[in-house]
Symmetry: C2
Subunit: 118 residues, 2 copies
């Protein structure tokens, strides 16, 4: 995998992890965190947990697949990204000085509330 593809994949897994973390087993959560979030190598994780490099690799592969399966069913990441586009437009509107001060304040509050739910 190229450096760019690897980075893109790491980003995607980290995002999916944020949405579906609570649906993974404790072991899956731990290994994904070490590998994608903290950037440990397979060998380092294997040493840390005293299991084979191959076993770590398989745990991580399976956890990635589980995340992608949940996303295929629930599309939480995809919906999040679509919502964020509208929320950013709303936020931009709250800085539009052609609008009444009160409206801008209301739009600011609404965009913050929506953002906080993401």
């Amino acid at each position: 995998m190229s450096q760019d593809n690897r980075l893109e994949k790491t980003n995607r897994i980290n995002l999916l992890f944020a949405f579906y973390e609570r649906l993974l087993t404790e072991k899956q959560q731990t290994f994904l965190k070490y590998y994608f979030h903290d950037d440990f190598s397979l060998g380092e994780i294997a040493a840390e947990f005293e299991i084979s490099r191959q076993a770590v690799y398989e745990h991580i592969k399976r956890a990635e697949q589980t995340l992608e399966n949940y996303e295929a069913k629930l599309e939480l990441l995809q919906r999040h990204e679509s919502r964020m586009q509208s929320i950013r437009e709303l936020e931009a509107l709250s800085f539009d000085d052609k609008l009444p001060e009160e409206t801008r304040r209301t739009l600011g509050v609404l965009s913050e509330k929506l953002q906080a739910l993401e």
Copy 2:
């Protein structure tokens, strides 16, 4: 259970079902639909599938529990309801005739886009 509580519970299960349907087994999906959505009795479902009334009851109990477990972990229904409050405020603002026509149109489009993602 009182009539009101029963209605409230039916509404809640129907809502949870809308969010988590794809995470249930086919059998769970079928029984929940018959019972909560189409208002069949346990006896009617038992007759339809040629299993005992008790077996239907247990499938439905377990499916309800599964839905509540997913909600406890992902809170999709709760987040949906919080977002809907802000979306409705946004929609109301799009009808505010003290605002410029163009702004109202933009707010209308944004509230529709956000609503469509719910």
